[in-house]
């Protein structure tokens, strides 16, 4: 059965373009221009994944509200935030609401589809038992690349997809410096330096929630970051 992707986006042209791209990939796509219509449809039937624009018609932060309501309906449903606004505040708010990823609209369709595929893969992986070969262990870190989940000292660290890919890129070759470009490539995003910096900052903070002494991500000034065991 085709997986259903819901696109909540008030800009019709973008919605249709995204819908066309997802359809081409073999997904069933349903588009909604605002929170009201989307929520009505979601209550009737949940999609398998939702791509939500933060600003919806007359509601500048309608996307956040929708996300909260959707999480109420289904805690596991993958949600991707999409916005023209790339400010940090939006990112923080979106992730607190339990979004799986947060992307700016200038992300290419290919990258977007890669993310969607990855999220579906994760959903599938969560349903299967853990395959040991997909698991990377680095000291206190346990990283399951299939399920895209991370544990530190046995405690789950909730990372967004972008953050997971950054951690994954860093931990693959611990001790190696990854510059910002490499991290962007790994995360399938085109971001500027500041966004990478704030992603790193957020990753550190999330690890520090489970371990105050976490200090595995080092900054190499002028070059990038590296994972230190």
């Amino acid at each position: 059965m085709k997986k259903t992707i819901a696109i909540v986006e008030d800009e019709r042209a973008i919605r249709d373009n995204y819908a066309a791209a997802f359809s081409r990939e073999g997904y069933a796509v349903r588009g909604y221009p605002n929170r009201r219509e989307a929520m009505a449809a979601f209550t009737a039937r949940l999609p398998d994944l939702a791509v939500i624009d933060i600003s919806l018609e007359d509601e500048p932060e309608g996307g956040f509200e929708l996300c909260r309501e959707l999480r109420g309906l289904s805690p596991e449903l993958p949600i991707i935030f999409l916005t023209a606004r790339d400010s940090e505040l939006d990112a923080v708010s979106g992730l607190r609401l339990g979004a799986d990823d947060f992307l700016t609209k200038d992300l290419s369709l290919a990258h977007l589809i890669a993310r969607v595929n990855a999220l579906f893969r994760r959903v599938d992986a969560l349903r299967r038992p853990t395959e040991e070969k997909q698991v990377i262990r680095r000291g206190a870190l346990t990283l399951d690349s299939e399920r895209m989940s991370v544990e530190w000292n046995g405690q789950v660290v909730l990372l967004s997809l972008t953050e997971f890919w950054i951690v994954y890129a860093l931990t693959k070759h611990p001790g190696h410096v990854k510059n910002r470009q490499q991290l962007m490539d790994a995360a399938n995003v085109v971001l500027d330096d500041n966004t990478i910096t704030s992603h790193i900052k957020r990753i550190r903070r999330k690890f520090q929630v489970v371990d105050e002494k976490f200090d595995a991500v080092h900054t190499v000034y002028g070059m990038g970051y590296r994972w230190v065991e």
């Binding site: 973008i14 995204y18 791209a21 966004t195």
Partner: protein, 705 residues
């Protein structure tokens, strides 16, 4: 013409500071004392004039009361005798006090015109002084005699053998009778005049005249005889004669003002009747001098010499003297000698004797004192002939005192006011200047640092024009602030607004790419994609400042080693820009500071980007870190073009760029603006200069540790 217009437009004193202008303005109050002086002078003049007019009125009244009263002036009923002139006439000086009859005439005011000099034989001579006081006539005979011979005895005055030097006094009385008296001394001292009376049988006898006092005294040159005669004895004529003898009983040689043959007096006595004084006294006022003179100018009587008024005291001290110096420029302020004053009074009399009353003023006895005088002619009963002149004189010192007092007060007051005005103006100007310069400085700094315009200017609460100015400045700055704020966020806003349509274009292209199969279409699509990617890069660059601002807002400060950071970063730049050489001068020891290391790196990135952009391949870019106790200085220098003159710190403003050449990467002049934002986050400043040898530019950031 243009210069005149300029002058009108900007004013003649526009070259001065505001303070000087107001000071000059305040100094114009000095015109106040000047006007006061003019007024005081005018007042004094008017007062003196009115004083003179009233004096003249009194004078005319007295003159009227004396009309036809020649018997008072000359003790004569007819006028014919008055007009003739005779060398033997005696014009006595009017004395203010009775002289002591002591044989010395030194207390008399000797005046050549009251003096009659007659020469005798053998170098002998006689001087006759005459004076009146009250009801007495005083005569002093100063006789030069080389051989003074005294009478032998008092007892035989008529014994020709015992007779020495004799003096004869002859006068007529009011009834026309003649009196001839002689003085003969046996050795000086008091003596009586004696008259020779013929008794029965032709016997002659010397009878003493008790009403006439006389003292005979030897002098160096001869002898002096001083005589006092009651005026009541005297008629129109009087004279003296000296019988000089070389030895007792010898033949006499006579000289004097009497006829030698019959001892008749032919010289007139020009003296007023004692009744004149009584008559005049009813008009007398304290401080007013009344003088009656004959029409020829001979003074007949004078009563009440002008006294120095008790209240007239000159103001002492420095200021009053200065004021007087300032005031008394006129002629009457000079002191006049007694003789000159008398001459002035006489010339007034002479003028008035022609028939017209007149006033005059002349300097008084003291410095700055003024005498005002009025004179009127005294007419005969028929009103045709002037036989005398009455003159009233009075010091005008009263007015001078008044003027001095008023003026001193006025000038003190105005001087005080001027001083106050100057001080007030100075204070006001100083305050104004301070306020204006404060406002100016505030608006300058408010304008200078475009990043965060402070809208609160000083003086905003003031209710005067300066307050208005401040408020309009404030609102101007506010508008400017809004405008710059708008400009600052414009790029970010634009980036955001453009992103949505760009997303439409891009996703459409991507869809087209996936579905299109025509080779030609693919070329166009790839071109369109290229364009949209460049557009995307532009948008990213445009939003950079906004993102940095947000990053700064969410930055945490931590302690870190700046030296290690700079060293690492500089090493990395070598890899990033292989076409440049990087030289880092960093202290060996750790340079701990508090801040956001990520931001510092970003700042350094921007500075290095800038240095790379403005230098040629192979150039050496130096990164220098200098640590000081309170702050650090991080500078990046590159050889290359110099900074455009007068850009100053505008380089660090948003959307400012001076680069001319275009390259592939989009530039919005935000790089150095980001440097500034980060520097300011660390409590520091950024500045740009040309290198000392003008080989390039150096950008320095100063950060608090």
């Amino acid at each position: 013409m243009g210069r005149i217009l300029d002058l009108i437009r900007i004013g003649p004193i526009s070259g001065f500071r505001l303070r000087t202008k107001l000071l000059l303005l305040a100094l114009t109050t000095l015109a106040l004392p000047w006007a006061g002086c003019q007024y005081a002078r005018e007042m004094e003049h008017v007062l003196r004039e009115s004083e003179m007019q009233s004096l003249l009125a009194v004078t005319t009244t007295i003159a009227g009361s004396l009309k036809g009263r020649q018997e008072l002036l000359f003790r004569a009923d007819s006028l014919e005798a008055v007009s003739s002139n005779n060398a033997r006439d005696i014009t006595p000086v009017v004395l203010s006090g009775a002289p002591l009859i002591d044989g010395r005439a030194d207390e008399w005011d000797t005046d050549a015109r009251n003096l009659i000099r007659v020469s005798g034989p053998g170098g002998d001579s006689m001087q006759l002084l005459a004076a009146t006081h009250e009801r007495w006539l005083y005569l002093a005979l100063l006789v030069r005699d080389n051989k003074v011979i005294y009478d032998a005895s008092m007892l035989a005055p008529l014994d020709s053998a015992s007779i020495g030097d004799r003096i004869w006094l002859a006068f007529d009385d009011k009834r026309g009778g003649q009196s001839q008296l002689f003085f003969g001394s046996t050795g000086g001292g008091t003596l009586r005049a004696r008259r020779i009376e013929t008794r029965e049988y032709g016997r002659e006898e010397a009878v003493e005249e008790p009403r006439i006092n006389a003292v005979w005294q030897r002098s160096r040159e001869g002898y002096v005889l001083e005589i006092g005669i009651p005026l009541s004895l005297l008629g129109q004529h009087i004279g003296v004669l000296i019988d000089d003898r070389d030895r007792r009983g010898a033949a006499r040689s006579s000289y004097g003002t009497l006829e030698v043959s019959d001892l008749r007096a032919t010289g007139r006595l020009i003296a007023a009747s004692p009744d004149l004084n009584d008559h005049l006294r009813q008009f007398a006022q304290p401080g007013v001098e009344l003088t009656v003179a004959s029409s020829t100018g001979a003074i007949l009587t004078r009563i009440d010499a002008p006294a120095l008024p008790a209240d007239y005291t000159r103001m002492r001290g420095f200021l009053p003297r200065m004021y007087r110096l300032f005031l008394d420029g006129d002629a009457i302020s000079r002191v006049m000698s007694q003789a000159n004053r008398q001459r002035a009074a006489e010339s007034l009399t002479t003028r008035v004797a022609r028939g017209k009353p007149e006033t005059a003023q002349f300097p008084g006895r003291y410095e700055n004192s003024v005498i005002v005088a009025a004179a009127a002619p005294i007419y005969s009963a028929d009103g045709k002939t002037v036989f005398g002149v009455i003159q009233l004189a009075q010091t005008a010192d009263r007015w001078l005192t008044l003027r001095d007092t008023a003026l001193t007060r006025l000038l003190n007051l105005t001087l005080f006011v001027t001083l106050f005005a100057v001080v007030a103006a100075f204070w006001f100007a100083g305050r104004m200047t301070l306020r204006i310069s404060r406002l100016g400085a505030a608006s300058e700094t408010a304008l200078g640092r475009e990043g965060n315009l402070s809208r609160v200017l000083p003086e905003a609460d003031a209710r005067d024009e300066l307050g208005d100015l401040s408020r309009s400045f404030s609102s101007l700055l506010g508008r400017l602030d809004e405008y710059t704020g708008y400009l600052r966020t414009l790029a970010g806003k634009l980036a955001h607004e453009i992103r949505t349509p760009l997303t439409i274009i891009r996703s459409s292209l991507e869809n087209l790419e996936s579905e299109g199969d025509s080779a030609n279409a693919k070329v166009y699509i790839s071109r369109a994609r290229e364009g949209s990617e460049r557009l995307g890069a532009i948008l990213t660059a445009m939003g950079a400042a906004t993102r940095v601002e947000e990053a700064i807002a969410h930055s945490d400060r931590q302690r870190f080693d700046l030296a290690a950071l700079v060293r690492a970063a500089a090493g990395a730049y070598g890899d990033a820009f292989p076409a440049r050489r990087f030289v880092a001068q960093v202290p060996d020891e750790a340079v701990e500071m508090t801040g956001a290391p990520d931001l510092i790196v970003q700042m350094l990135d921007k500075l290095v980007d800038n240095a790379v952009d403005f230098s040629a391949d192979g150039a050496t870019i130096s990164v220098v870190l200098r640590a000081e106790p309170a702050h650090v200085e991080l500078s990046v220098a590159n050889p290359g073009p110099l900074l455009p003159p007068e850009t100053g710190n505008r380089l660090f403003e948003s959307l400012w760029q001076s680069r001319v050449e275009s390259d592939k990467r989009p530039h919005f002049g935000l790089g150095l603006y980001i440097v500034r934002l980060i520097a300011e986050f660390h409590g520091g400043i950024a500045r740009a200069e040309n290198l000392a040898d003008n080989s390039g530019a150096i950008f320095t950031v100063r950060l608090n540790r």
